[in-house]
Structure formats: C-alpha cells, structure tokens
Subunit: 231 residues, 2 copies
C-alpha cells in the first residue's frame, strides 16, 4: 500500500506555517478525504446496479477517479504530519449517519443524491478553503473537480423524466429532503469541531456572513435541481 | 466519459497486422477487460466490509488500480477497432456464473477467492498472451501485474489462521472448490469461442501440450494455497 506517497518536496511552500498547519486545515482535509472514500463506495455500488454495461463502465471509472483525489489528499495530510486515517476518523460517524438517513431506493434516487449531495458538500468545502493557505486551497479546488459524474447524472435523470413524467415529482421531494438532512448533519459536524466552527465564524466575518453563506449554498442547490429538470 | 482515449499513435506498431488483429486477440482482451471490471466490483464491495478503516482504504485503492488496467485494455481494443463493451459482452454471462457459483460467505473467503481465483485466471491469460503479437502480449503482462491485493490477502488470511487455527480447514476446502468451478467455467468459455479454442490448441501444440498447460495451472494454484498457509 502506498496511499501516503510523499508529494513533491515543494508542496509545503506557501502554506505559511512552521510546524502545525492553520487551524481547521487537517479537519477540512479529513472530512474531504472521507467524502472521497465515501463517494468511491457509493459510485462503485451504483455501478453494480447500472442498467447497461456502458453505464456500469462509466460509473466504475468515475469511482476510480475519486480514489485519485483521495490519494492527493492523503499525500498532503501525510506531509502535514497526520495520517489520513486519523484525519478521517472523526467524520466517519456523521457522514455515515447522513448516508443511512438518505439511503436511495432506486437507481434514479441514487443519481440525484450523488449530484445534489456532492454538489452541496463541494460548495461548502470551497467556501471554507478560501480561508486557508493557498496550497491547501488549490488542492481542495482540484480534488473537488467533477469526475464527470454530474453530467452523467443530469443526462440519466432528464432522460428518465422525459420517458415517464410521473418520476419527476417524487424525485423533487427527494432532493428537498437531501438538502434538509445535509444541513442537519453539517450543523452537527460544526458543533462537534471547535476549530471548524471558529474558522467558519472568523471566515464569514459575523452572523450575517454565516447567513449569507447558507443562502449561497441554498442557491447552488436550487440551480442543481433545475439542471436535473426537478425545480 | 473518456474510457476509450486513443493511446499513443505507435501502439499498433509491432502487432504485425493490417486490418484485423490475430485471431483470439479481441477475445482475450475482452475477457481480461471484463475480468478487471469484475475485480473492481468485488474489491470495492469487499472494501465496504473491511474490518478496519486502513483495510477499507487499502482495498479501495487496489480496486481503483484495476480500473487503470481496464482503461489500458479499452484503449488498445479501441485502437483495434472494437469498443470495449462489445469485446466484453460474450464473457459477462460465464464470468457472472462463476461469481454466482462462488459467492463468498465471509471476509476471509472473499480474500481467498480474490487471491486464488485472480491468480489462476492471470496464469491462464499469460499462457495465451505468449502466442499473440508482442504489443498485445506486453499489455496483457502489464495489466495482470498485481495491484498489491495478493500480499494484502496473504497477510490477512495468515493472520486470521494464526489467531484461530480452526479457520484453516474450511478455507482449504473453499480453495479446492474455487479451482473446480474455475476449470468448469474456463472449459465452457473455450467451448463457446472457436477462435480461443483454436488459439489454445495451436499454441499448446497438441493434446499433450494442453495437458501440460493445465498441470502448470494446477501447480500455480497449489503454490498460492501454500502461500496462504492453506496447503
């Protein structure tokens, strides 16, 4: 196993730290890494139930790409002195709780969940990354790059809705439920991690800033539901 | 989706063909590609049931590496003028039949199956590849390279047998059953594909050659069972 291959020697340049990285850095990288592992897990399971062989190939390829992102995060964490497993550990329980509360019951629910849930998480992590050092920020933006899954989900969901207009209503409700569960879990995670809470409060500026952040997340969610044809 | 990215332009040099590749080439690449997709599927499912987080990470990484191999095979097939999905299609049913007949009932059975089953298949494919053009042969040898899974399986199974000597007996029987099912399915696949049958008969030389091939496969199997501590 070579998960934590050391990256090029200059990776720490520009982090602006001697010793410990800025507060919240390890937490953000940890939750992201578990998010990638989790995305791998769900996409590979979805691949198994893809209705066609090309669909199965496409999803398996995307799942594998998530592990490429995971590897980059593990390497950066390793360089910061924290094994990826240790950084992920605090986030296993809350992320699994979210996935248990939102277990999809069909191929289409699963695609909507991946598109809407991962999109929401990515918007949130990008906001936080803006407040960190440039090296970490760039890495976060890189690993949040889409592996092609969004376009795939949009295409499949739109096609299904065109074939049978009755599927749209329940999927729209499903999308709303995902937003609610995601906000509940995010609040829980932040409340449990003081450094993350401090980072978000200081980064946003004040309570009005936090309010604006949550409105931006909601706006992004609405746009994604529109792109699926479910607004 | 970019599964079938064209490889570097010189990939066909040395295949010694104008137009159609040598008989059996597309079949071998197709069964190998489905084998990789299948290995990805099983390893990612096993990752979900890994007893520890580092184990889950290790298996997820190995599963992702199988998709890297898949991508190489898909690119070569694309260059030979056959989409990977078309090349795989004839092998979906027999390989799934093998997996259904040998569904593991525990984490350890699953590790033994991956090590013993993939090892047996790899030995068989390497023998066939020796009779093909050098470019295809080298690609086959490359994608059959171990992704670290064997060492992982050996370590986990040996550790479990040391902790509880009672697990060895049933796992040894399991290994023998895997060999039987694999040979049954291989014979079925060969009987259904004339070009593969012709290639094996002409490659081996004669019936004695085929007998020798099967003895080599059995020998490899025995060695793998020994490495697991199950001989």
């Amino acid at each position: 196993m070579t998960v934590a291959e050391p990256p090029a020697g200059d990776v720490l340049e520009g982090t602006g730290v001697q010793g410990a990285p800025p507060a919240g850095t390890v937490e953000l990288l940890g939750v992201l890494a578990y998010g990638e592992l989790s995305a791998f897990d769900r996409m590979s399971a979805d691949a198994r139930y893809a209705p066609t062989l090309p669909g199965r190939v496409a999803l398996s390829q995307m799942a594998a790409a998530e592990m490429g992102h995971f590897r980059r995060l593990a390497a950066h964490l390793d360089h910061l002195g924290t094994p990826v497993e240790a950084a992920m550990q605090p986030f296993v329980r809350p992320l699994e709780a979210f996935h248990e509360a939102t277990a999809p019951h069909s191929w289409l629910e699963s695609l909507v969940k991946a598109h809407v849930g991962d999109g929401l998480a990515a918007d949130f992590y990008r906001e936080i990354a803006e407040w960190l050092d440039p090296v970490t920020r760039d890495l976060v933006f890189e690993v949040l790059g889409d592996t092609g899954h969004s376009a795939f989900a949009v295409r499949e969901v739109r096609r299904a809705c065109q074939a049978d207009p009755k599927v749209g209503g329940p999927l729209a409700l499903w999308g709303r439920r995902l937003l609610g569960e995601a906000i509940t879990q995010a609040q829980y995670v932040i409340a449990e991690h003081d450094t993350l809470a401090d980072l978000i409060i200081s980064g946003s500026g004040d309570l009005a800033g936090i309010g604006a952040l949550f409105r931006r997340l909601q706006l992004g969610h609405t746009e994604r539901m529109k792109s699926l044809g479910l607004a």
